[in-house]
Symmetry: C2
Subunit: 331 residues, 2 copies
């Protein structure tokens, strides 16, 4: 569990895509973010007040969050002085990078001296069981995608928020480092040893009240040549009652793979339903969300309406239209 409020460190980032972690927490947990700390070379913003480390600490910041990513997930040694400064003010440090904070002995020693935690949220610390597939009490919704990065986390969080707003009994279950940062708990499932993917998903959404919904953040895509194994283990372990299919308009090739066209939504539904039936024979698709940012409002609405007629479920852009229609269909 992470301790808010957060000071979000943007380093010297200049690519808006590289501060996904910062944007995620600033979008979904703004009230827990006391500000952002940027180095002079930084040219992007998460839209939070700019604060230096000392000021943020005085204003009550409890956790210093590395809000950026880079290719390879490396912790650059040029950031160590800032991380150390945060530790000296008494903040925990959270990283979602592949490199571990705890691999730097100087950070480990300093954190010990100041009685703060170094939290590498991408790296599981629990001993996981292998999956079993036995039916658990409670209800589960899983987001699945035509590709990676098509809005599965956003859709999941939006559904949780809408259900909370209606007083429903619900929890978002984070399965990626950005989701874990936002939720303050969860497991980065792509960092689990492969024998334990389904087991990790079972661990993340344990038995619950019969009216309780887990909204499980999906990962990857069954049609992605690199990551489908993660997607499948997550589907089996989550034993979803309900699937929401996520898609991004205008994508011409699977993320990171040249000349690999996306599957159709029909194919995605067929694949995911077929896979999910192994652990929940009564699984159903309850909605589709589409990232329509590549077209205007009118076209976006027309596309969603046409897809809704084709697949006979609510279809929305969660940012433009909200997800109330999907929650209506669930309730």
């Amino acid at each position: 569990m992470l301790t808010p409020p957060y000071l979000v460190f943007l380093g010297d980032a200049h690519n808006p895509l590289s501060i996904k972690m910062a944007n995620g927490i600033a979008t979904w947990r703004k009230e827990q973010c006391i500000g952002q700390f940027r180095l002079p070379a930084c040219s992007v913003s998460a839209g939070l007040p700019d604060l230096d480390i000392t000021t943020a600490a005085k204003e009550g910041a409890k956790t210093f969050v590395l809000g950026f990513a880079n290719s390879g997930g490396i912790i650059d040694v040029s950031w160590l002085p800032y991380i150390k400064e945060a530790i000296r003010t008494g903040m925990d440090v959270v990283s979602g990078l592949h490199d571990k904070l705890t691999d730097f002995q100087e950070l480990v020693d300093l954190a010990k001296d100041h009685n703060v935690r170094l939290i590498d949220i991408r790296h599981p610390t629990v001993k996981l069981p292998t999956g079993k597939g036995y039916k658990r009490a409670g209800k589960r919704l899983l987001t699945v995608g035509t590709d990676c990065s098509v809005g599965k986390m956003y859709t999941s969080l939006a559904i949780e928020k809408e259900m909370q707003h209606r007083g429903m009994n619900v929890d978002f279950r984070a399965t990626g480092q950005c989701g874990v940062l936002i939720a303050g708990k969860g497991l980065a499932i792509d960092c689990v040893i492969s024998d334990f993917i389904a087991g990790a998903a079972e661990y993340l959404s344990p038995s619950n009240d019969s009216d309780h919904w887990d909204i499980v953040e999906g990962q990857g895509s069954l049609s992605h040549p690199a990551f489908a194994g993660v997607s499948l283990g997550l589907i089996h372990g989550s034993q979803p009652d309900a699937l929401v299919v996520c898609h991004a308009l205008g994508r011409t090739s699977m993320r990171g793979i040249k000349d690999k066209p996306l599957p159709t939504i029909a194919r995605t539904i067929e694949q995911n339903i077929d896979a999910a039936r192994l652990t929940n024979p009564s699984v159903k698709v309850v909605g589709i969300t589409v990232n329509t940012s590549s077209v205007d409002e009118t076209e976006a609405l027309a596309i969603c309406q046409s897809l809704s007629a084709e697949f006979d479920v609510p279809v929305v852009d969660p940012i433009r239209h909200g997800v109330a229609a999907i929650v209506d269909a669930l309730a």
Copy 2:
């Protein structure tokens, strides 16, 4: 790469199923095994000559192989004296357990003093890429299963042996610890971080001569609630031209899962072909192998013939009938 000849350590094992590693190497690489070393309480055998450590070393043993497994994959401290004795005679030590030899500082120090290696074959030491799915030169056969432990490794090794016998250009590609021990190289794919399953499979069967066959050892089953993610990543990364479906007669429930019936062979073919088409649209099933040990010779033959008529591919028990019929169909 492991260095034969091997002295195979059976510890105090008394369950024949617990010495799978020892039986694997004794069956497939008998000429590389100088003997087995058993503690007094051991009541099982891999069928090798009994030798103590000192004698085996004098006779030229180069590697001390932990030939047993236990629940949890633990290295019991009661074995350390024997491991140390082997190190002192100059042998490398190989373990396929989950616990690492290298986590015991006393073993690390002693191995360094004696200039020998501690090899935890279950734990990948290479930095793996994520998968891409791009077409590689050469041909690939992958074994897939209705369940775990239905003969995928045995089938793969038997096909390699038959192809070698015919002078074909072939390599067995090990994906489990027992296979890695037998082949002396490979990767235990269930121990890879889940983001890299497909990437690991691509790494294991790189581009090759156009007439070269990789025989890739399959893992798990697309119908297994715990391990299907591993199976799927392995299918995508292996981009098989040919699949061989493996099945065990008389199994009533998926391995380790109560009351979970096995899929039919027809369903298994459908699932695996559908999955494999993502990275190799021309994939075909070229044979079926059945573990028929639960029935007599006559019934075994009748079952194989009936399945062969049903699916229009060669069907054999690799132990009773050999795999020549499958290699005929390939060539």
